[in-house]
């Protein structure tokens, strides 16, 4: 027999209501468990939606300071002039209304793990049964000397969180004269979106080729080689942009001087007309409020992958880029962390056990020109003995770009945005 999602929700609500869970933690004895989700990016929105879909008895609140979602994936297309900011900006309204999610437009400034409460900048205190932190990354602007001053002067941006910096960097590229130099730096792994810097170089080169063909790109990479899809990007640089992209591995930035428009590395002093310095990253600020930035370097968050619960903070789940793992830090992967986490929270709040061996997949497309893309796609299966994800057979990356993958890149974006927001 077939049934639609509405029937499913109604049936689930009835069953869970009928089973009257006596052991289930709840706020003030009101009976309905409450999950607070902090951050409405790929992970947070998906987790909130799936908790509501899989168990409508659970109340869900999202705390997010931004009015709209602006997508990092496809933001390089904006820099390349292939899409606009409007194309990557989406409303939260449908998600909020369709799934009856309580929405708090605010920033979390305090977490009391023992009392299970979060405090917001606006002065609200919210109690939770389970807390999900999905903040993405914090950009460590202090790791490059002079960065903060350069950023304050609006001379240098990272544009590694899509938004006003994306628009500003695009304007800087548009204003750059033909024959100018675009300097971009890549942090050492792990960082958000491993193929992102190399895709950005391709799409800026694609724009230059059409509009400013005498221009150059210098890519200063802190890594010893291209960190993701190396064959694909090297193929594209040679095939489409031969002589335009100067790739310099093992050459990350130490200092930036916006007065002389120079990026200083250990080996080079590189002058440019547009400087795009992407500093190192760590788990989002809010994870530190829960004491959950607990790997050996106090940079990323260690979680139990069956539930994505922090190993440092009970009842606090962390998903997305903030997590320490052998999974890639991608928006796609964040949606799949979110589904494992949502399912586990539903099981736990109903007194059942989550799947001990979740399976997730990553699919990641990168455009290498205005009409071709490549991909990397991998399935990961959790291995409880090793406490890490086993890469499954079959996964791998394109070695060249093509038009079919380009069509699927945009198709992927349309579907994943719909998946998280509708």
């Amino acid at each position: 027999m077939k049934f639609n999602r509405r029937d499913f929700l109604t049936a689930s609500a009835a069953i869970t209501a009928a089973s009257a869970l006596p052991g289930c933690a709840s706020i003030g004895g009101s009976g309905a468990p409450h999950v607070v989700v902090v951050g409405a990016g790929f992970g947070g929105t998906t987790c909130a939606k799936y908790i509501r879909m899989w168990d409508p008895k659970i109340k869900v609140t999202i705390i997010e300071p931004n009015d709209k979602f602006i997508s990092c994936p496809i933001s390089n297309w904006v820099l390349g002039g292939m899409k606009t900011m409007a194309d990557i900006t989406h409303s939260y309204d449908t998600l909020m209304k369709k799934y009856s999610i309580n929405w708090v437009k605010d920033t979390v400034v305090g977490i009391d793990v023992d009392k299970r409460t979060v405090r917001t900048a606006g002065g609200q205190t919210l109690a939770y049964d389970r807390l999900v932190l999905a903040p993405g990354v914090e950009i460590r602007t202090d790791t490059v000397e002079g960065y903060k001053e350069a950023a304050a002067a609006q001379k240098v941006v990272h544009a590694w969180k899509a938004g006003p910096e994306t628009a500003l960097l695009r304007k800087q590229l548009e204003a750059m004269p033909d024959g100018g130099v675009f300097v971009m730096s890549v942090p050492t792994v792990p960082y958000r979106c491993p193929p992102g810097p190399y895709e950005r170089a391709c799409l800026v080169a694609s724009y230059f080729k059409k509009h400013k063909p005498k221009s150059k790109i210098i890519l200063l990479d802190g890594n010893q080689d291209v960190a993701s899809k190396p064959a694909l990007f090297k193929w594209a640089w040679k095939t489409y942009y031969d002589g335009m992209i100067d790739y310099r591995p093992n050459n990350g930035p130490k200092r930036v001087d916006h007065k002389t428009m120079t990026v200083h590395t250990e080996f080079d002093d590189v002058k440019g007309d547009v400087l795009n310095v992407v500093p190192a990253q760590r788990a989002g600020e809010v994870t530190a409020l829960a004491g959950a930035r607990n790997d050996s370097n106090k940079v990323w968050c260690v979680v139990d992958f069956v539930t994505f619960e922090s190993t440092a903070a009970k009842n606090v789940h962390i998903i997305g880029d903030s997590v320490l793992s052998n999974l890639p830090k991608s928006g796609h992967m964040a949606t799949n962390h979110a589904k494992v986490c949502a399912s586990a929270i539903v099981e736990l709040l109903n007194g059942r056990q989550p799947t001990p061996t979740p399976v997730v997949a990553n699919t990641c497309y990168s455009a290498v020109s205005d009409s071709t893309s490549g991909h990397v796609a991998t399935v990961f299966r959790y291995n409880p003995e090793k406490k890490q994800w086993d890469t499954q057979p079959g996964g791998g990356a394109s070695s060249q770009g093509d038009e079919i993958n380009f069509v699927f890149t945009w198709a992927w974006a349309e579907n994943i945005w719909a998946e998280m927001l509708t």
Binding site: K2, F3, T10, T335, N336, T363, G394, G395, N415
Partner: protein, 100 residues
């Protein structure tokens, strides 16, 4: 007991077998839901990827196996399918066939 709850309980009895595939097997539920990051919300694609909602189970299983062996050429599905067991593919097929 309100009308919605009554309807829900009646519905739950009628659809118990399908519901077990969707709600009572968290492994399959997670597995199938991860496909929707590409194939669209509720298995209803908004773009070039095929919709999975309501797909015939036998067709789904046959295609997944054809991607796995390379018999059917693919853009990315040949990367994914070897990562799943035959049993998982069967369960996913049941799950998507039951989605409307």
């Amino acid at each position: 007991m309100n009308k919605t709850l009554v309807a829900g309980l009646l519905g739950a009895g009628l659809i118990a077998s399908s519901l077990s595939a969707l709600a009572s097997d968290p492994h399959t539920r997670v597995l199938a839901s991860t496909c929707l990051s590409c194939h669209g919300p509720g298995g209803k694609s908004k773009s070039a990827m095929p919709s999975l909602a309501g797909m015939d189970k036998t067709y789904f299983v046959t295609q997944m196996k054809a991607f796995k062996t390379g018999q059917r050429p693919a853009s990315v599905m040949h990367r994914h399918t070897p990562g799943y067991t035959d049993q998982e593919i069967e369960k996913m097929g049941e799950y998507f066939a039951a989605l409307k």
